[in-house]
Symmetry: C2
Subunit: 355 residues, 2 copies
């Protein structure tokens, strides 16, 4: 493997000194880029794009051709694991993900098998290897998975849900059955992330999109604990460097203290939490990633720059900040607005660093 030329992201995630705050964007390889839409059209469908390592590599690298980003993130979907478990992932146009075979009874849950990532999810590992080769050490590659709770919501509901009625009925009625489902999913995610790390990803992020829909005690039991078990079972070294783990619970701003105790190296934050407050609360235990409101990118470059300045100032001086949006970039954002954000981070952040 080539030597890593730009290691700002890995350093910041471990709270080591950097010259400039590293920046990347959730969903940076996505629909807001015309070249992405082109490749997706060529692929024929979103799933065909995910499962074709050459095309997945192509879209992973597209934002790096345009912008001086400090990281690449594997192009994939959070629902590849349940798909590999036989649930039949598909995307209805304009509707979001759906499963052909959602889990609706105890037998289905007990029959679930943990997929072998190098066979059933081989296309993901091949994409990782291809991307690492093509990246050639320019920036680190981020791997990822959905959290067990988030995956379970889709697996049980069968689609995106507004109020999670089916899985919450299960949670309140049969909590031990939900524990069992989450155990199987957590084991699958552990193997999946470890396979990504063996294939070459240099840091991993766990996306807990729906943990914020729970009460504090249910969050601890059904979302945080399974993530904690995963973190404790991950391979933590690659190419002789530590593999940092980023934990992101959307709408999880009330639970940062508990998240800090999981062993994660960094917490992702959405924009509803002030970075200065968050930093006070987590102390020197973890780095923080975030948290520009993605809707800021609808404004003009001048106003984007002002809001970037506010985010940098709220974190303040010192190490341990990775600049990002607080959620994925919206499909309607003009690419030059993303460019304005990245440029602002790189121009305005050096005074916050000692090096």
């Amino acid at each position: 493997m080539s030597k890593l030329e730009n290691d700002r992201l890995l350093r910041a995630l471990l709270r080591q000194p950097v010259d400039v705050t590293p920046v990347w964007m959730m969903r940076q390889a996505g629909r807001y880029l015309p070249e992405y839409r082109e490749t997706r059209k060529k692929a024929g469908s979103f799933m065909k794009l995910c499962t074709n390592p050459e095309l997945a590599c192509e879209v992973t690298l597209q934002p790096l051709e345009r912008f001086p980003l400090d990281a690449a993130i594997l192009f994939s979907d959070i629902l590849t694991v349940p798909d590999a478990m036989g649930l039949g992932l598909y995307f209805a146009e304009g509707e979001g993900p759906r499963f052909k075979n959602p889990l609706r009874d105890e037998k289905q849950i007990q029959a679930l098998a943990v997929p072998d990532p190098e066979t059933e999810l081989r296309y993901v590992m091949d994409a990782v290897r291809t991307i690492r080769r093509e990246l050639d050490g320019r920036v680190p590659l981020i791997g990822f998975s959905g959290s067990p709770w988030t995956l379970a919501t889709y697996m049980v509901e069968g689609a995106s849900s507004k109020d999670f009625s089916i899985i919450k009925a299960m949670m309140y009625e049969r909590p031990e059955l939900l524990d069992q489902l989450l155990d199987t999913v957590a084991e699958s995610v552990t193997l999946y992330l470890n396979a990504q790390i063996k294939a070459g990803v240099q840091t991993v992020m766990i996306f807990d999109t729906w943990g914020g829909a729970l009460t504090p005690s249910d969050y601890c039991r059904f979302s945080l604990k399974p993530m904690e078990r995963i973190i404790h079972s991950l391979i933590r070294e690659n190419d002789g460097r530590k593999v940092p783990v980023i934990l992101f619970t959307k709408n999880g701003g009330q639970w940062l203290e508990a998240m800090t105790d999981t062993g994660a190296d960094a917490l992702g934050l959405d924009w509803t939490t002030d970075l200065a407050d968050a930093r006070r609360r987590v102390g020197n235990q973890v780095a923080l990633q975030g948290n520009l409101d993605p809707s800021v990118l609808y404004a003009s470059p001048q106003h984007i720059r002002e809001q970037v300045a506010k985010v940098l100032a709220s974190f303040g001086k010192g190490d341990g900040h990775v600049f990002n949006l607080g959620h994925g970039i919206h499909p309607g954002i003009p690419p030059d607005h993303a460019a304005a954000m990245i440029e602002a981070v790189q121009e305005l952040s050096p005074p916050y660093h000692r090096v």
Copy 2:
């Protein structure tokens, strides 16, 4: 006016002693009740139901016929005020509210007039007077309005929104224009709530459904400040009693301290905040209302009872708790599950009170 027979709600909102924790449900007059669906069918449409004082009274009282609730809440919609401003509210079946004339330019915003509640919103005041007469002092009547920020999101977006792209672009690009819109809406809401109080409501609640979509500083400026101005301009006495004000920002659990400083008597909480933590944070300044996850009501009566017990225990001993769901009751809930919740509150709460 008849003497109020059951004043538990008003007492609890002012942190005065009660024998039993008062309980009501957001959207207690709603689609989960077959008798509501019947009346709505009779009315022809949701808007016709809202604008007909006799029918609005009928559905307001329906849940009280079934359940021993401690309050009635005016049946209306949060969007009646912008409708009275000429935006043309309508409901497309299964789609949520929409406006025929959303605000899309500066001229429209500057042309907005503050409606006179006793003329343009007379049907609401007539409903209040009718309901008070029919309630005949059994329980207090709650009036309400949407928050200025929440109303503004619908007025600018024209419908429910996932990411508030249009109003947030305005917020970041033209903050002073948004301030101006919020000023007009706040003035309208103030007159509207004061007219409700004069017509007979005994407590008012401000529903800030979308404040939780903002950053902490934007929340303070664009959602909290306009609500604070309203609270300071409200008539605070009716029938010789104080009219308590309840402030509810959905997903606002991170900002309780700031909400406490507005002069509100009580804060509504969704289920993502622990009541014991919230109580520690707000001290003796405000009462707390909430916060059972509405999805608990999908579970069986036995499990509902367990979860009610947890909510009561999390608030603990003492005054200043109003039991409620953390959001409106879902349309698919069986009415006997709501009954199980109310019964559990009334059976399990007396040990938490001194009287």
